[in-house]
């Protein structure tokens, strides 16, 4: 709750005024039964039409003031709720954007998206309703009781008995149904999951003739959902009749005791009407309050979820570099690097060392899960190394800011993803000031000129989310161009030419080799043909170096490399 409070603080005035005006509105409403009582007791008894007219005018006046006050309250509530939720949304998004890879892995992007959309909306709604109703409802309930006491303290004792009883019932029903509704939601999520799983796996299910098994599972889950819903409904069905009985029986008691009091002459008829009216007001507010509590519990769990993300440390990495010296013309150097992902013990890379000079190419090859992509993470300081050091241009990466690393290292990731927008916007992501000529130059190097020229609008052509309006191969070439536009000193292609045919890939390697600014290049691939020409080839096997050398050297000395090579170039064909 402190979390929400800190956002509302910026709208302190609005947050205080909104409930305050709501309270004023409630006060004006509480006056109404008194006025009516006066009309009956004074106006009608004394036959004073003028008095009645004036009192009815007062009712209208109260209504008008109530309207003005309520509108003011609504304005302040809306402003406080929306502005603070808006700020919360912004802070949350900024926090997410500042997260390191490790933090993102832990939280997962799917849940983060729901937090920023759904959860924030819930909170906004919750704050709004809270400011509007949370003071008003109790105020009416207790206000009605106090007013009843001013009318007749003895009869008002009924109020004193009824209110806690009602509170207790609402509380008990809520308390027992809320966890049930949470369970229902979970079961519904499972039902949803089963449906989408079955859609994804339609071919497999039909191939295995598994339809009936799936149907049984679905019937079972929906049956479970049904009995949970009925179970919660059983308790809920109780709430309305119970409150109805209590409030109306209270009216019966009020009437009975009022009868006694009127007989004694302590109470007038008008006052009896007022007391009855106060009891009805309580019933109306109570229903609103119950709805509000449901809304608030929902908002509260959203707050907890948002808070969880906000309090999650954005960056677990170290940012203190160890002093070191560049060795020779080294651009990138790894010495004795062990690497593991946060919260895991097992090293996915073990004792990796190599050096790369500008203009040189390093090929990295290995099977699935050999640690090829982890190497990229180590170089870019996406995660901390567990041991050893990664040097960029002679400096420990831990001492270099992320912005600086992004400037120096150009990564083409395995999954070719583009942002929604235009081609030009995507290409300029790493270098906002690049000219159109520079873009075309990069496109040429990436063999992507025809991709852009084939689109209406060329560089300004639209890109839909994820770049789905381009084929896999086109996307890969565009992402390579994107990395080239920022002219990095180190270019890393992480299995990023897999969708290109071999001729295009060869051309691409040639183009990169002849780049004027001579970047050091790392080519990660499963294809032996992609790394064969590299100055050095690093062979990874289960995170360890199985070999480091040129193709010829490795063919002589490295068994793993030979196996990989021959699995792709069968022995008898190599000579052909």
């Amino acid at each position: 709750m402190k979390f929400v409070y800190q956002y509302l603080k910026a709208y302190k005035i609005e947050s205080i005024l909104a409930p305050l005006f709501k309270m004023l509105e409630a006060i004006f409403e509480l006056f109404v039964p008194l006025v009516v009582a006066a009309i009956i007791d004074v106006g009608i008894t004394t036959n004073d039409t003028d008095y009645i007219l004036r009192r009815c005018g007062l009712l209208l006046l109260l209504a008008a003031i109530g309207l003005a006050v309520a509108i003011t309250a609504q304005f302040f509530a809306a402003k406080a709720a929306i502005c603070s939720a808006s700020k919360m949304r912004e802070d949350l998004f900024f926090h997410i954007q500042d997260m390191s890879h490790g933090a993102m892995d832990e939280l997962g992007s799917a849940t983060l998206v729901t937090r920023i959309t759904n959860d924030i909306n819930q909170v906004q709604n919750g704050i709004n309703m809270f400011l509007r109703l949370f003071l008003r409802s109790p105020f009416i309930v207790f206000g009605a009781m106090i007013m009843a006491f001013t009318v007749d303290a003895k009869v008002a004792l009924i109020f004193l008995a009824v209110i806690p009883l009602l509170g207790l019932i609402v509380y008990r029903v809520m308390k027992s149904t809320l966890p049930m509704f949470r369970k229902i939601q979970q079961t519904l999520d499972t039902v949803l999951r089963i449906v989408s799983e079955n859609l994804e796996g339609i071919r497999v299910i039909r191939a295995f003739g598994n339809e009936e098994v799936q149907e049984d599972a679905f019937v079972k889950k929906t049956g479970e959902l049904y009995s949970r819903q009925i179970g919660a409904g059983k308790i809920q069905a109780f709430l309305n009749p119970a409150t109805y009985i209590i409030v109306n029986l209270a009216v019966v008691f009020i009437l009975w005791f009022s009868g006694l009091r009127v007989e004694k002459g302590v109470l007038s008829t008008g006052e009896v009407v007022a007391l009855v009216n106060y009891m009805s007001q309580i019933l109306v507010e109570l229903i609103k309050l119950a709805n509000l509590i449901v809304l608030l519990t929902r908002a509260y769990s959203s707050v907890t979820r948002i808070q969880e993300v906000m309090e999650h440390p954005a960056d677990e990495r170290g940012h203190e570099g160890v002093a070191s010296k560049a060795l020779g013309e080294e651009v990138l150097g790894l010495s004795e690097v062990d690497f593991s992902y946060p919260n895991t013990v097992e090293h996915v890379l073990h004792d990796i060392s190599f050096q790369l000079k500008s203009g040189e190419t390093l090929g990295v090859i290995g099977g699935t899960g050999s640690g090829k992509s982890s190497l990229v993470h180590a170089i870019c300081h996406d995660y901390d190394v567990a041991r050893g050091m990664v040097r960029l241009v002679g400096e420990d990466v831990r001492g270099i800011s992320d912005e600086q690393i992004a400037k120096v290292v150009g990564v083409v990731p395995q999954h070719a993803e583009l942002f929604a927008g235009s081609i030009a916007e995507n290409l300029r992501v790493g270098n906002p000031t690049a000219t159109d000529d520079e873009l075309w130059e990069a496109l040429d190097t990436a063999c992507a000129r025809e991709v852009v020229e084939g689109k209406d609008g060329k560089l300004q052509a639209g890109v839909v989310k994820g770049g789905r309006n381009f084929s896999g191969g086109q996307r890969q070439r565009l992402t390579i161009a994107r990395a080239l536009v920022k002219r990095p000193w180190i270019l890393i292609l992480d299995d990023s030419a897999s969708a290109l045919d071999l001729a295009t890939e060869a051309k691409l390697r040639q183009n990169i080799k002849s780049l004027s600014w001579k970047p050091a290049t790392i080519i990660i691939s499963q294809r032996a043909s992609s790394v064969r020409e590299a100055d050095q080839i690093l062979v990874l096997e289960n995170g360890e170096v199985a070999g480091l050398g040129t193709h010829e050297e490795l063919m002589r000395s490295c068994e793993v490399y030979q196996e990989i090579y021959y699995s792709q170039f069968p022995r008898e064909e190599v000579g052909a």
Binding site: C83, T117, R206, I230, I245, V262, T368, Q526
Partner: protein
Amino acid sequence: MRQKTLKRIGSILLPYLPYILLTLLCAVGTVFLTLEIPILTGRAIDCIGGFHQVDFDGLVAVLRTMTAVILLTALFQWLMNRINNYITYSVTMELRRAAFAKLQRLPVSHVDTHSHGDYVSRIVTDADSFSDGLLLGFSQLFTGVLTILGTIGFMVRLQPRISLVVILLTPISFLVAKFISSRTYRMFKQQAMDRGDLTEFASERIEQQKLVHTFSYTDATKAEFQRRNEALRKSALNATFYSSLTNPSTRFVNALIYGVVCFFGAGTVLAGNLTVGELSSFLGYASQYSKPFNEITGVITEMQNAIACASRLFELIDAEPEEDHGDYELPQDMRGQISFRDVAFSYNKEQPLLRDLNLSVQPGQKVAIVGPTGAGKTTMINLLMRFYDVDQGGIYIDGVDIRQMSRASLRQKFGMVLQETWLQEGTILENLRLAKPDATVEEVVEACKASHAHSFIKRLPNGYDTRLGMDGGSLSQGQKQLLCIARVMLNLPPMLILDEATSSIDTRTEMKIQEAFGRMMEGRTTFVVAHRLSTIINSDIILYMEHGQVLEQGSHKALLEKNGKYAALYYSQFKI
């Protein structure tokens, strides 16, 4: 269309008719008894005439009736709640099950051409909105209308002239609400647009957060978010504030009516045509009279929405299922001779794909299909499994047209491993048993050893009982493929289909699996689609396809000698 939907709704609800009648009866009871309360209260007040004028006998009688009415009302309410819950949840469950059962019987083409999210929302959301909206909506509408009519009736019975005032004035609150909602419609639309804008952007940049980091694109991303967030803040503030005027405004109109009734009522009391108690009954009605009006407006849109949901749901439930036109069963000792005769097929009429396809495969032969993306390789498999049926010509197994067999019995004869691995949430064991529900653990382990999946499963925290998340959860793509291979190995049918079955497995592991595949394929007619040609050179027939045409057909050796497209593709793997 609408007529049809309504008819359909009727047929669904028919079995619940007794319950529906009962709940309507309860509604009638609740409404009239509830309306009785203000009258009885009024009478009680009239019994409490004043000092020494209390008619205790009358009061006791009235209060006794009132208590009975209260208890009876609560009973009706409770019954109504329970019955409504029962109908709603049962109908939802039934519809969901019917829709899901249909899903299992829809042609694959139906699922391929519709978005999966659409099915999910029909089965999950639409089913809910339908039963919620329609049944609860209906019962609310029914009670609402009844309450209005009942109130008018009761009021007219008390005093026709004042009733006229109430009846004439109440529509004002209705009009005010309508006025506000028509004015705020545009604001809500704007808000929805801005929200969509923001959500799209946020989800893209959160899903691609690592990419944003790689290019140090964080500041630009934040700035753009801020811009969209600000737009949303403005439109949300407008929409929220202006729409929140409805309640205070209608409350104000209500208060006006209350004042006017009070004035006329008091006047009528003075004229002797109304008692004080009756005046209090009137005021009770006046304060509640507009409530059902407000509810009904909401309910009507909700019901329209419910009918729309129903029609979408029925569209799915009534969709044409796949039908079998023959029940020929391939014998247990089938040979596996497969021939395509003059097969033509296309997914849509504008783009013909396969034409004049002829192919004859002898029992036990291994057929490899190669060629560029979009050549029609996977289509061949779609046709073999009868996920789609040919447009012309026919496919024959052991001389029998596959359309003369039931799909289930045909598919049973094929083992299939696809590139898209599909695993369900559940344990590894459960997933593997999909192929053979009664397989023993030993059998499963045996199959996993054969497919080289055993070694990684063994290392998982709970071995074969490790729970997988949706779509295999944290397993790598390669590991998922190994599981899918093991799944087929568990229950080997007479014919096999391997569509890029090892595409995500590194070449060394692939070589090892090939041995297992070799054993598996022994004596089984097999179709293989593969990118890596090294895995298919031993095939009996290789089909080279392009644009739906088989351009070359023959053994590896024969095709190399032919020196055509296949040879070019093959040698390109070795060119650097």
